[in-house]
Every structure is written in structure tokens, then in C-alpha cells.
Amino acid sequence: MHPILDHRPRLWAYVAVWTVAGILMSALMRSSGEFTSLQSLFYAVPMTLMLGVAGLSAWYLCRVFPLGATHFLRIAFVFGLTATLTTVVWMLAGELWIAALGQLSPALEFAERSVSQWRIWFAIGAILYLLTAAVHYLLAAMETAREREKNEFELKVLAQASELKALRAQINPHFLFNSLNSVSALIGRNPKAARGMVNQLADFFRKSLQYGAEEHITLEQEMELLTHYLEIEHVRFGDRLHVRTEVSDEARLARVPSLLLQPLIENAIKHGVGQRVEGGTVEVTGKPLGPVLELRVRNDRDPVAASGRGTGMGLDNVRRRLNALYGSDANLRVMAEERSFEVVLTLPFRKEIEA
């Protein structure tokens, strides 16, 4: 996007400024006494406008050589060179213009004339070109600032939204009501198990609230939460749900966004194991790979499960959250096979700083 060409009001302003400059130039030309007013107008206004058009190309140089990221001498050199070249070409074009005017309208009496004060013209041309370049740099800076502001705002909104969603996700009403139904069933036939389930539920919700309020927790804490969650689901699903966790002691020290894995586990049960008559396994693995922490959640799945829909939402949330927190330093990969579904997360491996 060119900040002037693609912006109608700015383009008009630009043309207006250059027209005024052209008229001033013609006044200057007239004051030398060498040319008549008419001659000055016919020469200086088109010439100035031509320079204005040439000046628009400075934008592309501004883009290639951004102010903050380029050495000052380099910018000075680049623009010194382009200013010189542009002005020389521009003045040659001016000579052609005079010749053309001399041919086309003899009344102007331009024949065999030439601009004698070429040094002044050269200086003014180069200065105007450099001024135009400066204006382009200014516009580029404005654009960057606006862009950054927009990005920051978006990031903030996104972070808040995902935080809310994360909170809502762990207090999934479906999970809560189903669990309460199981407790109710157990009360009649196995009061001890019922009490155990109530305690698991209480622990799970208490920890969810506690950890959910923080941006980061240790992987150890996240695993603790998942254990409660899986214990509860185990009561519901019975032998259909198998769980395997393999998280190294080293990995457990890592700082991870709170409740990051929880929605993935929930998906693994709801859309994976829960859709299989014979049940299946949910596997959670975590290990450091050099500077990176790798977390995997894998589950068995039915190749023609009732609904693959809905899995996208939870995953999308996790992906966006990782992106907001780590940018390109984190990654989420999905490996979907006919009978297996795996999500692989990588994020910077940072240990919890001991308080």
C-alpha cells in the first residue's frame, strides 16, 4: 500500500502542495528577468509536478531502508545518489520540455532557449526530492505506529478472551453435571466411592480456580490438576478409559501457561476415547528437548466417530494462546490418523524461578 497513491485525500493534498510549489517556482523563475510570466508558468509548473510524481517512488526506498534498521550513512548515501540521479534526469526532461514547447507553440517563444540557472534548479530539485522522501518516512512511521497499536490491542483482547474461555472450559458444565450424576449413582450402592468422587471434584475445582487465576504454573501443577480430572473421568467411564502419563522430572519443573493441557485432555476423552465402544487410551508425555519443552497428548479414536466437530474450538484456543504468549517460539502440531489423534506442543523450556 502506497501511503499517498492509495489514499485519495492524501493524493489530492499532495497534488495541491506540488502545484503551489510550481507556482512559487515560476515566480522565482520570473524574478530572474530571463523569462516572461507565461514562459515561467509553462515551464515551472509542469516541471514541479513531474518532480512530485518522481518523488512518489521514494516510498519504495523508505520501505527497503527503514529508518531504525538502517545505518544513517547508508541512508544518506542511498538518498544522495537517488536525489542526484532523479534531479539530473528531471532537468534533462526539462530541456526536452522547452524544446517541445518551442516546437508546439511558437507564441511562447521558447525556441532555442535553455535554462541558464541550472545550478539553482538542480539544488531546488534535489532539496524538494529529499523533502518528499522525508515526508514518506514520516508517513511510514505513522503507519508502523498505528499498526503496532492495533496489534497490541488485538493481542490484549485475544488474551482476555482466551483467558475467559480457558476458565469456562475447565468448568465445563457437561463435565460437572455428568460427574454429579455419577456421584448420585454411587451414593446408593457405594457410599465410600461417592465420597471419594466428591473429594476429587472439590480438589479439581479448587485447583482450577487457583491455577486459572495465574498466567503460568509449573507442569507439575498442571499434571496434578489433570490427575484429578482423569480420576473423575475414570469413575464415569470405568474400564473404557486408560491413561498413561510419561512426564520427566526435569519437564515437571517447566513453567507452562496454566490449564493449557486441560482442554486437550477433555477433547481426547470427549471426541476420542468416549466415542469408542471399547474405550481406549489417553497418553500424556512431556520432556525437554534442549531449549524446548515438548508436550504430547495422544488418544485412540473411532475412524467414523459421531462428531469430529467441536475439536477445533479447544485446539484453536490453545494455539491462539500459545501464539499470544510466545509468538513463533511455540508451535502446535496435530497428527490425525484414522485411529489415533495426537497434539504436539512445543514451547520454550523455562524452569520455574524459585521464589
Binding site: 458444565p173 457437561h174 460437572l176 453435571f177 455428568n178 454429579l180 450424576n181 455419577s182 456421584v183 448420585s184 449413582a185 454411587l186 446408593g188 450402592r189 469413575v235 464415569r236 467411564f237 470405568g238 470427549k270 468416549g274 466415542q275 469408542r276 465402544v277 473411532d302 475412524p303 467414523v304 466417530a305 459421531a306 462428531s307 469430529g308 466437530r309
Partner: protein
């Protein structure tokens, strides 16, 4: 009130079935004739034992509760049992279907049972077609087609369908060399398939674009498509226009 009531309980969680069984045990006239843990079994059992009333969970392996209803031949009185499906609860209200919310309580179950028994006595045959249609329209483009062959249920992913052919009130689905009949109009099916992947090439044919090998001029102004399998299907002029848009 004390006529015998034959009941089926369908839920994939054993504890949830336990709870309903426990609550039903307080009603001596109720006999549990079937317990099913997934949708496939539910369809089979309900068809074979013909219960008077079904307690039906929504989220189950293989088939959802709605899909079970879709596949049953005749109307069956149902009490849906669900934990929390906003859409479902709204639909139950709209279509006046009995439902229970988990955790299920004895009082609510007694009430629902009484209500259902009354309807039965008055010979109210429930019509769940509108409810099933509602649940389908919530699902977006069709991902799989459910087919009953005798007492067996097949799940056919739509991606495996080569083409569908209209046969009166049935659709004949051609997939990997085999064919399946489904009681459904081709129009109905075509409306629910992703229009980016399936094209109505003819009044009687819907083609999976993936399977298209080439289009040939057959006679002046008339064309046929040749599938990768070598099958040849007629293309109407309107069908050709639709096809061209996607190629």
C-alpha cells in the same frame, strides 16, 4: 396406572444406567427389557424388543441419541437424558419431547414416567422427525451417512461415497465398489452435502468431485462424466454448468 411398562435404558456410562435402574425399581410395573451402552446396540435392541419407552442419552459412542431416533423404523416414545446440551434442551422444549437433566432425581424421573405413561395410554404416537431434522441442521455439512441394513447399522463417511443415485424414495450410494440403499430423497441428501465437494450433475445423480476423471462429449450438446473407477454417468446441461463452476 399400573399397566406393565417395558423400558429400555440407553447410556454409555454404567453408573448413569445404574441410577436410572435404581429409580425405576421403585415402580414395580416397570420392567427393564434392554440396557444398551452405545447407539448401534440401541438401534438393534429397540427394534428387536420393541420397548414401550426408551430412556435415551445423547452423547454416546457410534451414534448420538438423535441418530438412533433417525434410524428407528417406527415412532418410539422416548425420554431423553442429558447433562448439558443447550441446543438439545431448546429443541426438546420446541418439539414437546420429554427429557431429564443429569443429575437425574427420583422426583423428576417419576414425573416424566407418569407423563409418558399418560401419553401412551392416550395412544399419542410421537413424531420425532422434526426434532431429528433440527439436530441435523445444527451439524453443518453431512460428514457421514447412517445406513440400516436389516438390524445392522453402517456408518459411511461421505468422503468414501463415489456418487449417489436417485431410486424413487431411496438413494443408492455407490462407495468403493459396493452400494447401499438409504430411505431418503436425493434432494434431501444433496442439500446436506458440502457443495464444494459434491455436485448435482443430473436429476438422478450427485457426484463426489474427487472421483471425477474427465468429462466427455457424448453427442451434440450432451456430455458424460467418467469416474476414476471407470464408471460413466450422464450429465445434464444444468449439471454441466454447475460442474464447470467448480472446476
Amino acid at each position: 396406572m399400573n399397566e406393565r411398562l417395558r423400558v429400555a435404558v440407553v447410556d454409555d456410562e454404567p453408573l448413569a444406567r445404574d441410577l436410572i435402574r435404581e429409580f425405576l425399581s421403585h415402580h414395580p410395573h416397570v420392567e427393564i427389557v434392554a440396557e444398551c451402552a452405545n447407539g448401534f446396540d440401541a438401534v438393534r435392541e429397540i427394534e428387536s424388543v420393541k420397548p414401550d419407552l426408551v430412556f435415551l442419552d445423547i452423547q454416546m459412542p457410534k451414534l448420538t441419541g438423535f441418530e438412533v431416533l433417525e434410524l428407528l423404523n417406527g415412532p418410539v416414545p422416548v425420554i431423553f437424558v442429558t447433562a448439558y446440551e443447550e441446543f438439545a434442551i431448546r429443541a426438546f422444549e420446541v418439539h414437546a419431547v420429554d427429557y431429564l437433566l443429569k443429575p437425574v432425581s427420583q422426583e423428576r424421573l417419576d414425573e416424566a414416567l407418569k407423563h409418558a405413561a399418560e401419553r401412551l395410554r392416550r395412544g399419542h404416537a410421537p413424531d420425532h422427525r422434526a426434532l431429528v431434522r433440527d439436530s441435523q441442521s445444527k451439524q453443518g455439512w453431512l460428514e457421514r451417512v447412517l445406513i440400516r441394513e436389516g438390524t445392522n447399522v453402517h456408518v459411511l463417511p461421505v468422503a468414501s461415497i463415489d456418487y449417489a443415485e436417485a431410486q424413487d424414495d431411496y438413494v443408492c450410494l455407490h462407495a468403493a465398489g459396493t452400494t447401499h440403499l438409504k430411505a431418503m430423497r436425493l434432494n434431501e441428501l444433496a442439500d446436506r452435502l458440502d457443495p464444494g465437494k459434491f455436485v448435482r450433475i443430473h436429476r438422478s445423480f450427485v457426484l463426489n468431485l474427487d472421483r471425477l476423471a474427465r468429462i466427455e462429449l457424448y453427442a451434440k450438446d450432451s456430455r458424460i462424466v467418467i469416474l476414476k473407477s471407470g464408471d460413466r454417468l450422464p450429465v445434464s446441461r444444468a449439471g454441466y454448468d454447475r460442474l464447470k463452476l467448480l472446476l
